[in-house]
Subunit: 152 residues, 4 copies
Protein backbone atom coordinates (compact mmCIF):
# COMPACT_ATOMS: atom_id res chain seq x y z
CA UNK A 1 0.00 0.00 0.00
CA UNK A 2 1.42 3.38 -0.96
CA UNK A 3 0.79 6.67 0.80
CA UNK A 4 -1.81 8.07 -1.61
CA UNK A 5 -4.63 5.62 -1.01
CA UNK A 6 -3.87 5.79 2.69
CA UNK A 7 -4.29 9.54 2.67
CA UNK A 8 -7.28 9.45 0.43
CA UNK A 9 -9.00 6.89 2.61
CA UNK A 10 -9.27 9.21 5.54
CA UNK A 11 -8.71 12.74 4.33
CA UNK A 12 -11.23 14.52 2.14
CA UNK A 13 -8.73 17.15 1.11
CA UNK A 14 -5.09 16.43 0.34
CA UNK A 15 -2.58 18.88 -1.09
CA UNK A 16 1.00 18.37 -2.22
CA UNK A 17 3.73 20.80 -1.17
CA UNK A 18 7.48 20.89 -1.83
CA UNK A 19 9.90 21.05 1.07
CA UNK A 20 12.07 24.08 0.32
CA UNK A 21 15.73 24.24 1.34
CA UNK A 22 15.02 27.41 3.30
CA UNK A 23 12.39 25.62 5.40
CA UNK A 24 15.29 24.09 7.30
CA UNK A 25 16.75 25.72 10.39
CA UNK A 26 20.17 25.51 12.03
CA UNK A 27 19.46 21.92 13.15
CA UNK A 28 19.46 20.94 9.47
CA UNK A 29 15.82 19.85 9.47
CA UNK A 30 12.51 21.54 8.73
CA UNK A 31 11.75 24.13 11.42
CA UNK A 32 8.83 23.41 13.77
CA UNK A 33 6.77 26.31 12.38
CA UNK A 34 6.83 24.90 8.83
CA UNK A 35 4.38 21.98 9.33
CA UNK A 36 1.95 24.54 10.75
CA UNK A 37 2.20 26.46 7.48
CA UNK A 38 1.48 23.16 5.69
CA UNK A 39 -1.56 22.59 7.92
CA UNK A 40 -2.76 26.14 7.25
CA UNK A 41 -2.52 25.58 3.50
CA UNK A 42 -4.47 22.33 3.79
CA UNK A 43 -7.07 24.05 6.00
CA UNK A 44 -7.61 26.81 3.45
CA UNK A 45 -7.83 24.26 0.60
CA UNK A 46 -10.40 22.28 2.61
CA UNK A 47 -12.56 25.36 3.27
CA UNK A 48 -12.49 26.25 -0.43
CA UNK A 49 -13.10 22.77 -1.81
CA UNK A 50 -15.96 22.09 0.58
CA UNK A 51 -17.68 25.38 -0.26
CA UNK A 52 -17.45 26.46 3.40
CA UNK A 53 -15.23 29.49 2.67
CA UNK A 54 -17.74 31.07 0.32
CA UNK A 55 -20.75 30.06 2.43
CA UNK A 56 -19.21 31.84 5.41
CA UNK A 57 -18.21 34.87 3.34
CA UNK A 58 -21.79 35.06 2.03
CA UNK A 59 -22.98 35.63 5.60
CA UNK A 60 -20.25 38.16 6.41
CA UNK A 61 -18.36 35.60 8.48
CA UNK A 62 -14.93 33.98 8.38
CA UNK A 63 -13.04 31.24 10.19
CA UNK A 64 -10.60 32.15 12.96
CA UNK A 65 -8.08 29.75 14.46
CA UNK A 66 -8.66 29.20 18.18
CA UNK A 67 -6.17 26.45 18.91
CA UNK A 68 -3.65 24.16 17.36
CA UNK A 69 -1.90 20.97 18.35
CA UNK A 70 0.95 19.28 16.54
CA UNK A 71 2.97 16.06 16.99
CA UNK A 72 6.33 15.94 15.27
CA UNK A 73 6.79 12.25 14.45
CA UNK A 74 9.88 12.40 12.21
CA UNK A 75 12.38 15.00 11.10
CA UNK A 76 11.89 16.24 7.53
CA UNK A 77 14.77 17.35 5.32
CA UNK A 78 15.19 18.95 1.91
CA UNK A 79 14.70 17.61 -0.74
CA UNK A 80 11.27 16.12 -0.20
CA UNK A 81 7.60 16.52 -1.02
CA UNK A 82 4.83 16.30 1.54
CA UNK A 83 1.20 15.30 1.14
CA UNK A 84 -0.89 17.20 3.66
CA UNK A 85 -4.41 16.20 4.57
CA UNK A 86 -7.26 17.98 6.32
CA UNK A 87 -10.59 16.63 7.52
CA UNK A 88 -13.30 17.84 9.86
CA UNK A 89 -13.97 15.41 12.71
CA UNK A 90 -16.28 17.29 15.07
CA UNK A 91 -18.79 20.09 14.82
CA UNK A 92 -19.82 22.36 17.72
CA UNK A 93 -22.16 25.32 18.17
CA UNK A 94 -19.72 27.94 16.98
CA UNK A 95 -16.66 25.90 16.02
CA UNK A 96 -15.42 22.78 14.32
CA UNK A 97 -12.37 20.61 14.77
CA UNK A 98 -10.00 19.59 11.99
CA UNK A 99 -7.36 16.89 11.88
CA UNK A 100 -4.18 17.29 9.87
CA UNK A 101 -1.47 14.91 8.75
CA UNK A 102 1.64 15.24 6.59
CA UNK A 103 3.33 12.35 4.77
CA UNK A 104 6.83 12.47 3.39
CA UNK A 105 7.46 11.14 -0.09
CA UNK A 106 11.14 10.43 0.74
CA UNK A 107 10.38 8.58 3.95
CA UNK A 108 7.08 7.07 2.81
CA UNK A 109 5.89 7.78 6.32
CA UNK A 110 3.68 10.02 8.37
CA UNK A 111 5.91 12.85 9.60
CA UNK A 112 3.58 15.27 11.39
CA UNK A 113 0.07 15.03 12.79
CA UNK A 114 -2.12 17.62 14.40
CA UNK A 115 -5.47 19.20 14.90
CA UNK A 116 -6.99 22.65 14.99
CA UNK A 117 -10.15 24.30 16.27
CA UNK A 118 -11.75 26.80 13.92
CA UNK A 119 -14.31 29.24 15.26
CA UNK A 120 -16.92 30.88 13.03
CA UNK A 121 -16.20 34.56 13.52
CA UNK A 122 -17.88 37.84 12.71
CA UNK A 123 -14.85 40.01 11.97
CA UNK A 124 -16.86 43.26 11.98
CA UNK A 125 -18.48 42.62 15.34
CA UNK A 126 -15.32 40.85 16.51
CA UNK A 127 -17.15 37.95 18.05
CA UNK A 128 -17.96 34.27 17.49
CA UNK A 129 -21.18 33.24 15.78
CA UNK A 130 -23.13 29.99 15.56
CA UNK A 131 -22.11 27.70 12.71
CA UNK A 132 -24.72 28.53 10.00
CA UNK A 133 -26.96 25.58 8.94
CA UNK A 134 -25.62 25.87 5.37
CA UNK A 135 -22.08 25.36 6.67
CA UNK A 136 -23.12 22.32 8.74
CA UNK A 137 -24.65 20.84 5.63
CA UNK A 138 -21.59 21.53 3.49
CA UNK A 139 -19.25 20.00 6.07
CA UNK A 140 -21.33 16.84 6.49
CA UNK A 141 -21.77 16.55 2.74
CA UNK A 142 -18.04 16.97 2.11
CA UNK A 143 -17.16 14.45 4.83
CA UNK A 144 -19.86 12.07 3.64
CA UNK A 145 -21.16 11.42 7.14
CA UNK A 146 -22.75 13.13 10.12
CA UNK A 147 -20.27 14.75 12.47
CA UNK A 148 -20.02 14.21 16.20
CA UNK A 149 -20.56 17.28 18.36
CA UNK A 150 -17.50 19.29 19.50
CA UNK A 151 -17.34 20.90 22.90
CA UNK A 152 -18.37 24.42 21.79
Amino acid sequence: MTYRPWIEAGYRCVIQLPVQWGDQDAMGHVNNTVPLRWFESARIAYLEQSGVASALAGEGLGPILASLQCDYRRQVRYPDQVWVGARVVALGNSSFRMQHAAWSQQQQALVTEGSSILVVFDYRAQRPQRVPPSVRQLLEHFEGRSLEPASS
Copy 2:
Protein backbone atom coordinates in the same frame (compact mmCIF):
# COMPACT_ATOMS: atom_id res chain seq x y z
CA MET B 1 -0.82 45.03 38.84
CA THR B 2 0.95 45.35 35.52
CA TYR B 3 1.97 42.51 33.21
CA ARG B 4 5.64 42.32 34.20
CA PRO B 5 5.27 41.11 37.78
CA TRP B 6 2.55 38.76 36.58
CA ILE B 7 4.92 37.21 34.07
CA GLU B 8 7.83 37.19 36.42
CA ALA B 9 5.79 35.49 39.11
CA GLY B 10 5.31 32.36 37.11
CA TYR B 11 7.83 32.34 34.32
CA ARG B 12 11.53 31.88 34.99
CA CYS B 13 12.47 33.13 31.58
CA VAL B 14 10.76 36.04 29.83
CA ILE B 15 11.87 37.68 26.61
CA GLN B 16 10.56 40.73 24.80
CA LEU B 17 9.93 40.66 21.07
CA PRO B 18 8.57 43.27 18.66
CA VAL B 19 5.58 42.46 16.48
CA GLN B 20 6.74 43.18 12.94
CA TRP B 21 4.37 44.47 10.27
CA GLY B 22 5.26 41.50 8.08
CA ASP B 23 4.14 39.07 10.81
CA GLN B 24 0.60 39.88 9.74
CA ASP B 25 -1.21 37.86 7.09
CA ALA B 26 -4.07 38.68 4.75
CA MET B 27 -6.53 38.74 7.69
CA GLY B 28 -4.66 41.80 9.00
CA HIS B 29 -3.51 40.09 12.18
CA VAL B 30 -0.44 38.13 13.22
CA ASN B 31 -0.35 34.79 11.37
CA ASN B 32 -0.85 31.63 13.46
CA THR B 33 2.73 30.46 12.89
CA VAL B 34 4.22 33.61 14.45
CA PRO B 35 3.42 32.86 18.13
CA LEU B 36 5.14 29.52 17.60
CA ARG B 37 8.28 31.40 16.53
CA TRP B 38 7.91 33.47 19.74
CA PHE B 39 7.61 30.27 21.79
CA GLU B 40 10.68 28.85 20.06
CA SER B 41 12.69 31.95 20.90
CA ALA B 42 11.61 31.77 24.55
CA ARG B 43 12.42 28.04 24.63
CA ILE B 44 15.94 28.65 23.34
CA ALA B 45 16.45 31.51 25.81
CA TYR B 46 15.26 29.26 28.64
CA LEU B 47 17.64 26.45 27.69
CA GLU B 48 20.54 28.89 27.56
CA GLN B 49 19.74 30.81 30.74
CA SER B 50 19.20 27.64 32.75
CA GLY B 51 22.47 26.11 31.57
CA VAL B 52 20.58 23.16 30.04
CA ALA B 53 21.71 23.91 26.47
CA SER B 54 25.40 23.65 27.31
CA ALA B 55 24.92 20.72 29.71
CA LEU B 56 23.22 18.77 26.91
CA ALA B 57 25.84 19.82 24.33
CA GLY B 58 28.56 18.67 26.73
CA GLU B 59 27.12 15.15 26.55
CA GLY B 60 26.71 15.22 22.77
CA LEU B 61 22.95 15.67 23.08
CA GLY B 62 20.40 18.28 22.05
CA PRO B 63 16.72 18.97 22.56
CA ILE B 64 14.23 18.01 19.86
CA LEU B 65 10.64 19.19 19.75
CA ALA B 66 8.17 16.30 19.96
CA SER B 67 4.91 18.16 20.23
CA LEU B 68 3.35 21.55 20.52
CA GLN B 69 0.02 22.95 21.59
CA CYS B 70 -1.18 26.52 21.24
CA ASP B 71 -4.30 28.49 22.23
CA TYR B 72 -4.90 31.74 20.38
CA ARG B 73 -6.71 33.91 22.96
CA ARG B 74 -6.67 37.27 21.16
CA GLN B 75 -5.67 38.62 17.77
CA VAL B 76 -2.40 40.53 17.73
CA ARG B 77 -1.71 43.42 15.37
CA TYR B 78 1.22 45.61 14.45
CA PRO B 79 2.43 47.77 16.17
CA ASP B 80 2.90 45.93 19.43
CA GLN B 81 5.48 44.29 21.66
CA VAL B 82 5.04 40.89 23.25
CA TRP B 83 6.50 39.46 26.43
CA VAL B 84 6.98 35.74 26.01
CA GLY B 85 7.54 33.39 28.92
CA ALA B 86 8.82 29.83 29.18
CA ARG B 87 8.89 27.50 32.17
CA VAL B 88 9.37 23.80 32.69
CA VAL B 89 6.44 22.16 34.47
CA ALA B 90 7.12 18.42 34.24
CA LEU B 91 10.13 16.18 33.84
CA GLY B 92 10.03 12.65 32.39
CA ASN B 93 12.58 9.94 31.67
CA SER B 94 13.66 11.29 28.33
CA SER B 95 11.61 14.46 27.96
CA PHE B 96 10.34 17.54 29.74
CA ARG B 97 7.30 19.73 29.26
CA MET B 98 7.37 23.49 28.91
CA GLN B 99 4.59 26.04 29.19
CA HIS B 100 4.58 29.21 27.13
CA ALA B 101 2.61 32.44 27.27
CA ALA B 102 2.68 35.69 25.34
CA TRP B 103 1.39 39.04 26.66
CA SER B 104 0.65 42.03 24.48
CA GLN B 105 1.86 45.44 25.59
CA GLN B 106 -0.92 47.16 23.58
CA GLN B 107 -3.70 45.02 24.95
CA GLN B 108 -2.20 44.48 28.40
CA ALA B 109 -3.49 40.95 28.12
CA LEU B 110 -2.47 37.38 27.59
CA VAL B 111 -2.76 36.77 23.84
CA THR B 112 -1.39 33.26 23.29
CA GLU B 113 -0.73 30.28 25.56
CA GLY B 114 0.79 26.93 24.82
CA SER B 115 3.01 24.08 25.77
CA SER B 116 5.67 21.94 24.20
CA ILE B 117 7.34 18.58 24.85
CA LEU B 118 11.09 18.53 24.41
CA VAL B 119 12.88 15.20 24.07
CA VAL B 120 16.56 14.77 24.92
CA PHE B 121 17.99 13.54 21.66
CA ASP B 122 21.24 12.01 20.46
CA TYR B 123 21.48 13.55 16.99
CA ARG B 124 24.30 11.22 15.88
CA ALA B 125 22.55 8.02 16.91
CA GLN B 126 19.22 9.62 15.95
CA ARG B 127 17.44 8.42 19.06
CA PRO B 128 16.09 9.69 22.40
CA GLN B 129 18.21 9.46 25.54
CA ARG B 130 17.44 9.65 29.24
CA VAL B 131 17.50 13.16 30.72
CA PRO B 132 21.02 13.39 32.23
CA PRO B 133 21.10 13.94 36.05
CA SER B 134 22.95 17.23 35.53
CA VAL B 135 20.08 18.49 33.38
CA ARG B 136 17.48 17.42 35.97
CA GLN B 137 19.42 19.36 38.57
CA LEU B 138 19.72 22.45 36.40
CA LEU B 139 16.00 22.42 35.58
CA GLU B 140 14.93 22.04 39.21
CA HIS B 141 17.44 24.65 40.28
CA PHE B 142 16.26 27.11 37.63
CA GLU B 143 12.61 26.49 38.49
CA GLY B 144 13.34 26.65 42.21
CA ARG B 145 11.29 23.55 43.01
CA SER B 146 11.11 19.83 42.32
CA LEU B 147 9.30 18.96 39.12
CA GLU B 148 6.42 16.53 38.77
CA PRO B 149 7.05 13.54 36.51
CA ALA B 150 5.97 13.75 32.85
CA SER B 151 4.58 10.77 31.00
CA SER B 152 7.82 9.78 29.25
Copy 3:
Protein backbone atom coordinates in the same frame (compact mmCIF):
# COMPACT_ATOMS: atom_id res chain seq x y z
CA MET C 1 32.61 56.17 18.15
CA THR C 2 29.90 53.62 18.76
CA TYR C 3 27.30 52.47 16.28
CA ARG C 4 24.40 54.59 17.51
CA PRO C 5 25.69 58.04 16.59
CA TRP C 6 26.90 56.60 13.32
CA ILE C 7 23.43 55.38 12.50
CA GLU C 8 21.74 58.46 13.78
CA ALA C 9 23.99 60.68 11.71
CA GLY C 10 22.70 59.40 8.44
CA TYR C 11 19.43 57.62 9.09
CA ARG C 12 16.32 59.49 10.10
CA CYS C 13 14.61 56.35 11.29
CA VAL C 14 16.38 53.58 13.18
CA ILE C 15 14.70 50.56 14.78
CA GLN C 16 16.14 47.82 16.95
CA LEU C 17 15.29 44.17 16.30
CA PRO C 18 16.40 40.95 17.96
CA VAL C 19 17.96 38.19 15.89
CA GLN C 20 15.84 35.13 16.65
CA TRP C 21 17.32 31.63 16.70
CA GLY C 22 14.81 30.54 14.07
CA ASP C 23 16.05 33.26 11.68
CA GLN C 24 18.99 30.97 11.00
CA ASP C 25 18.95 28.42 8.20
CA ALA C 26 20.86 25.17 7.67
CA MET C 27 24.10 27.12 7.08
CA GLY C 28 23.92 28.21 10.73
CA HIS C 29 23.56 31.90 9.89
CA VAL C 30 20.65 34.25 9.34
CA ASN C 31 18.84 33.33 6.11
CA ASN C 32 19.07 35.80 3.20
CA THR C 33 15.36 36.66 3.40
CA VAL C 34 15.62 37.86 7.01
CA PRO C 35 17.45 41.17 6.38
CA LEU C 36 14.69 41.97 3.89
CA ARG C 37 12.16 41.55 6.68
CA TRP C 38 14.32 43.92 8.78
CA PHE C 39 14.34 46.44 5.91
CA GLU C 40 10.57 46.12 5.56
CA SER C 41 10.09 46.83 9.26
CA ALA C 42 12.35 49.90 9.02
CA ARG C 43 10.49 51.06 5.89
CA ILE C 44 7.12 50.83 7.64
CA ALA C 45 8.49 52.63 10.73
CA TYR C 46 9.86 55.39 8.47
CA LEU C 47 6.55 55.86 6.67
CA GLU C 48 4.73 56.10 9.99
CA GLN C 49 7.20 58.36 11.77
CA SER C 50 7.43 60.77 8.83
CA GLY C 51 3.65 61.04 8.53
CA VAL C 52 3.81 59.70 4.95
CA ALA C 53 1.74 56.59 5.72
CA SER C 54 -1.25 58.57 6.93
CA ALA C 55 -0.86 61.29 4.27
CA LEU C 56 -1.02 58.61 1.57
CA ALA C 57 -3.93 56.83 3.26
CA GLY C 58 -5.78 60.16 3.43
CA GLU C 59 -5.70 60.32 -0.37
CA GLY C 60 -6.72 56.69 -0.83
CA LEU C 61 -3.18 55.70 -1.76
CA GLY C 62 -0.53 53.37 -0.41
CA PRO C 63 3.11 52.53 -1.08
CA ILE C 64 3.98 49.48 -3.16
CA LEU C 65 7.45 47.97 -3.42
CA ALA C 66 8.78 48.04 -6.98
CA SER C 67 12.34 46.87 -6.46
CA LEU C 68 14.86 45.89 -3.86
CA GLN C 69 18.60 45.52 -3.70
CA CYS C 70 20.65 44.04 -0.88
CA ASP C 71 24.35 43.52 -0.13
CA TYR C 72 25.21 40.91 2.47
CA ARG C 73 28.42 42.22 4.05
CA ARG C 74 28.76 39.84 7.00
CA GLN C 75 27.05 36.72 8.27
CA VAL C 76 24.78 37.27 11.26
CA ARG C 77 24.20 34.67 13.95
CA TYR C 78 21.99 34.24 16.98
CA PRO C 79 22.25 35.73 19.59
CA ASP C 80 22.48 39.30 18.39
CA GLN C 81 20.54 42.54 18.05
CA VAL C 82 20.44 44.62 14.90
CA TRP C 83 19.88 48.34 14.42
CA VAL C 84 18.16 48.92 11.12
CA GLY C 85 18.03 52.30 9.43
CA ALA C 86 15.88 53.74 6.65
CA ARG C 87 16.21 57.05 4.83
CA VAL C 88 14.80 58.50 1.63
CA VAL C 89 17.51 59.61 -0.79
CA ALA C 90 15.67 60.43 -4.01
CA LEU C 91 12.19 61.50 -5.01
CA GLY C 92 10.65 60.92 -8.45
CA ASN C 93 7.30 61.67 -10.07
CA SER C 94 5.53 58.60 -8.75
CA SER C 95 8.18 56.93 -6.61
CA PHE C 96 10.91 57.46 -4.07
CA ARG C 97 14.08 55.60 -3.24
CA MET C 98 15.07 54.43 0.25
CA GLN C 99 18.38 53.27 1.59
CA HIS C 100 18.64 50.66 4.31
CA ALA C 101 21.42 49.47 6.57
CA ALA C 102 21.66 46.97 9.42
CA TRP C 103 24.31 47.04 12.16
CA SER C 104 25.11 44.15 14.43
CA GLN C 105 25.53 44.78 18.14
CA GLN C 106 27.74 41.68 18.50
CA GLN C 107 30.01 42.54 15.62
CA GLN C 108 29.83 46.33 16.03
CA ALA C 109 29.75 46.44 12.26
CA LEU C 110 27.53 47.06 9.29
CA VAL C 111 26.19 43.65 8.26
CA THR C 112 23.70 44.35 5.46
CA GLU C 113 23.02 47.30 3.19
CA GLY C 114 20.39 47.84 0.57
CA SER C 115 17.89 50.06 -1.14
CA SER C 116 14.31 49.91 -2.29
CA ILE C 117 12.06 51.79 -4.70
CA LEU C 118 8.59 52.56 -3.39
CA VAL C 119 5.85 53.55 -5.83
CA VAL C 120 2.83 55.58 -4.78
CA PHE C 121 -0.04 53.29 -5.71
CA ASP C 122 -3.78 53.55 -6.05
CA TYR C 123 -4.81 50.08 -4.88
CA ARG C 124 -8.42 50.49 -6.07
CA ALA C 125 -7.49 51.58 -9.58
CA GLN C 126 -4.43 49.30 -9.43
CA ARG C 127 -2.10 51.87 -10.89
CA PRO C 128 0.71 54.26 -9.89
CA GLN C 129 -0.04 57.86 -9.02
CA ARG C 130 2.06 61.01 -8.77
CA VAL C 131 3.64 61.61 -5.36
CA PRO C 132 1.19 64.06 -3.70
CA PRO C 133 2.70 67.48 -2.80
CA SER C 134 1.91 66.84 0.89
CA VAL C 135 4.02 63.68 0.77
CA ARG C 136 6.92 65.50 -0.93
CA GLN C 137 6.80 68.06 1.83
CA LEU C 138 6.69 65.46 4.59
CA LEU C 139 9.64 63.55 3.10
CA GLU C 140 11.80 66.65 2.72
CA HIS C 141 10.82 67.86 6.16
CA PHE C 142 11.64 64.49 7.74
CA GLU C 143 14.96 64.27 5.90
CA GLY C 144 15.76 67.91 6.68
CA ARG C 145 16.86 68.68 3.13
CA SER C 146 15.60 68.82 -0.45
CA LEU C 147 15.73 65.50 -2.23
CA GLU C 148 17.36 64.83 -5.58
CA PRO C 149 15.05 63.62 -8.34
CA ALA C 150 14.72 59.86 -8.90
CA SER C 151 14.29 58.39 -12.34
CA SER C 152 10.50 58.02 -12.24
Copy 4:
Protein backbone atom coordinates in the same frame (compact mmCIF):
# COMPACT_ATOMS: atom_id res chain seq x y z
CA MET D 1 3.42 30.73 -27.08
CA THR D 2 2.89 29.60 -23.50
CA TYR D 3 5.12 30.28 -20.53
CA ARG D 4 6.91 26.94 -20.41
CA PRO D 5 8.86 27.10 -23.66
CA TRP D 6 9.66 30.73 -22.87
CA ILE D 7 11.19 29.74 -19.55
CA GLU D 8 12.91 26.73 -20.94
CA ALA D 9 14.46 28.74 -23.74
CA GLY D 10 16.51 30.87 -21.43
CA TYR D 11 16.63 29.14 -18.06
CA ARG D 12 18.57 25.92 -17.57
CA CYS D 13 16.83 25.17 -14.31
CA VAL D 14 13.14 25.78 -13.69
CA ILE D 15 11.18 24.69 -10.65
CA GLN D 16 7.48 24.89 -9.88
CA LEU D 17 6.24 26.17 -6.53
CA PRO D 18 2.75 26.71 -5.14
CA VAL D 19 1.76 30.10 -3.77
CA GLN D 20 0.54 29.41 -0.25
CA TRP D 21 -2.25 31.45 1.36
CA GLY D 22 0.11 32.34 4.21
CA ASP D 23 2.62 33.85 1.78
CA GLN D 24 0.31 36.86 1.64
CA ASP D 25 0.70 39.80 4.00
CA ALA D 26 -1.74 42.42 5.22
CA MET D 27 -1.84 44.05 1.74
CA GLY D 28 -3.51 40.86 0.49
CA HIS D 29 -0.67 39.96 -1.88
CA VAL D 30 2.46 37.87 -1.62
CA ASN D 31 4.95 39.54 0.76
CA ASN D 32 8.16 40.95 -0.76
CA THR D 33 10.34 38.38 1.01
CA VAL D 34 8.53 35.43 -0.62
CA PRO D 35 9.94 35.78 -4.17
CA LEU D 36 13.39 35.76 -2.57
CA ARG D 37 12.57 32.39 -1.03
CA TRP D 38 11.49 31.25 -4.53
CA PHE D 39 14.81 32.49 -5.96
CA GLU D 40 16.71 30.70 -3.20
CA SER D 41 14.93 27.44 -3.98
CA ALA D 42 15.72 27.81 -7.69
CA ARG D 43 19.35 28.66 -6.86
CA ILE D 44 19.74 25.52 -4.76
CA ALA D 45 18.09 23.38 -7.47
CA TYR D 46 20.46 24.88 -10.07
CA LEU D 47 23.55 24.13 -7.97
CA GLU D 48 22.40 20.55 -7.47
CA GLN D 49 21.30 19.85 -11.05
CA SER D 50 24.50 21.32 -12.52
CA GLY D 51 26.72 19.27 -10.19
CA VAL D 52 28.21 22.49 -8.74
CA ALA D 53 26.95 21.82 -5.20
CA SER D 54 28.77 18.50 -4.91
CA ALA D 55 31.88 19.74 -6.77
CA LEU D 56 32.17 22.58 -4.25
CA ALA D 57 31.48 20.30 -1.28
CA GLY D 58 34.18 17.94 -2.55
CA GLU D 59 36.70 20.73 -2.13
CA GLY D 60 35.43 21.77 1.29
CA LEU D 61 33.73 24.84 -0.15
CA GLY D 62 30.20 26.19 -0.37
CA PRO D 63 28.37 29.07 -2.02
CA ILE D 64 27.56 32.18 -0.02
CA LEU D 65 25.16 34.89 -1.13
CA ALA D 66 26.89 38.27 -1.50
CA SER D 67 24.13 40.34 -3.04
CA LEU D 68 20.62 40.21 -4.37
CA GLN D 69 18.46 42.37 -6.56
CA CYS D 70 14.76 41.98 -7.24
CA ASP D 71 12.16 43.73 -9.42
CA TYR D 72 8.54 43.21 -8.44
CA ARG D 73 6.68 43.44 -11.79
CA ARG D 74 3.21 42.29 -10.70
CA GLN D 75 1.43 41.47 -7.48
CA VAL D 76 0.91 37.76 -6.85
CA ARG D 77 -2.07 36.36 -4.97
CA TYR D 78 -3.21 33.00 -3.67
CA PRO D 79 -4.19 30.69 -5.34
CA ASP D 80 -1.47 30.46 -7.95
CA GLN D 81 1.57 28.45 -9.03
CA VAL D 82 4.87 30.00 -10.02
CA TRP D 83 7.58 28.72 -12.33
CA VAL D 84 10.93 29.97 -11.11
CA GLY D 85 14.04 29.94 -13.27
CA ALA D 86 17.74 30.26 -12.49
CA ARG D 87 20.67 30.62 -14.88
CA VAL D 88 24.29 31.68 -14.54
CA VAL D 89 25.17 34.63 -16.73
CA ALA D 90 28.66 35.68 -15.64
CA LEU D 91 31.63 34.04 -14.00
CA GLY D 92 34.33 35.89 -12.02
CA ASN D 93 37.45 34.90 -10.12
CA SER D 94 35.71 33.99 -6.91
CA SER D 95 32.04 34.51 -7.75
CA PHE D 96 29.34 34.03 -10.32
CA ARG D 97 26.16 35.87 -11.15
CA MET D 98 22.73 34.28 -11.48
CA GLN D 99 19.55 35.60 -13.00
CA HIS D 100 16.14 34.65 -11.65
CA ALA D 101 12.62 34.99 -12.94
CA ALA D 102 9.21 33.91 -11.69
CA TRP D 103 6.15 33.40 -13.90
CA SER D 104 2.62 33.20 -12.62
CA GLN D 105 0.34 30.47 -13.95
CA GLN D 106 -2.75 32.56 -13.16
CA GLN D 107 -1.50 35.69 -14.84
CA GLN D 108 0.49 33.96 -17.57
CA ALA D 109 3.07 36.66 -17.03
CA LEU D 110 6.46 37.35 -15.58
CA VAL D 111 5.84 38.56 -12.02
CA THR D 112 9.29 38.93 -10.46
CA GLU D 113 12.82 39.18 -11.86
CA GLY D 114 16.14 39.40 -10.13
CA SER D 115 19.75 38.47 -9.88
CA SER D 116 22.17 37.31 -7.24
CA ILE D 117 25.95 37.14 -6.76
CA LEU D 118 27.23 33.91 -5.28
CA VAL D 119 30.73 33.80 -3.84
CA VAL D 120 32.72 30.57 -3.53
CA PHE D 121 33.40 30.42 0.19
CA ASP D 122 35.61 28.41 2.51
CA TYR D 123 33.35 28.19 5.58
CA ARG D 124 36.14 26.87 7.84
CA ALA D 125 38.62 29.61 6.96
CA GLN D 126 35.70 32.06 6.62
CA ARG D 127 37.00 33.56 3.40
CA PRO D 128 36.33 33.61 -0.36
CA GLN D 129 38.20 31.24 -2.67
CA ARG D 130 38.79 31.17 -6.42
CA VAL D 131 36.13 29.36 -8.42
CA PRO D 132 37.66 25.86 -8.90
CA PRO D 133 38.29 24.86 -12.55
CA SER D 134 35.91 21.90 -12.15
CA VAL D 135 33.14 24.30 -11.17
CA ARG D 136 33.85 26.59 -14.16
CA GLN D 137 33.57 23.59 -16.41
CA LEU D 138 30.33 22.40 -14.84
CA LEU D 139 28.76 25.85 -15.11
CA GLU D 140 29.72 26.30 -18.77
CA HIS D 141 28.63 22.77 -19.56
CA PHE D 142 25.27 23.25 -17.84
CA GLU D 143 24.72 26.60 -19.56
CA GLY D 144 25.90 25.19 -22.89
CA ARG D 145 28.13 28.18 -23.65
CA SER D 146 31.15 30.05 -22.36
CA LEU D 147 30.36 32.62 -19.71
CA GLU D 148 31.37 36.28 -19.74
CA PRO D 149 33.61 37.42 -16.90
CA ALA D 150 31.99 38.95 -13.81
CA SER D 151 33.59 41.77 -11.89
CA SER D 152 35.18 39.67 -9.13
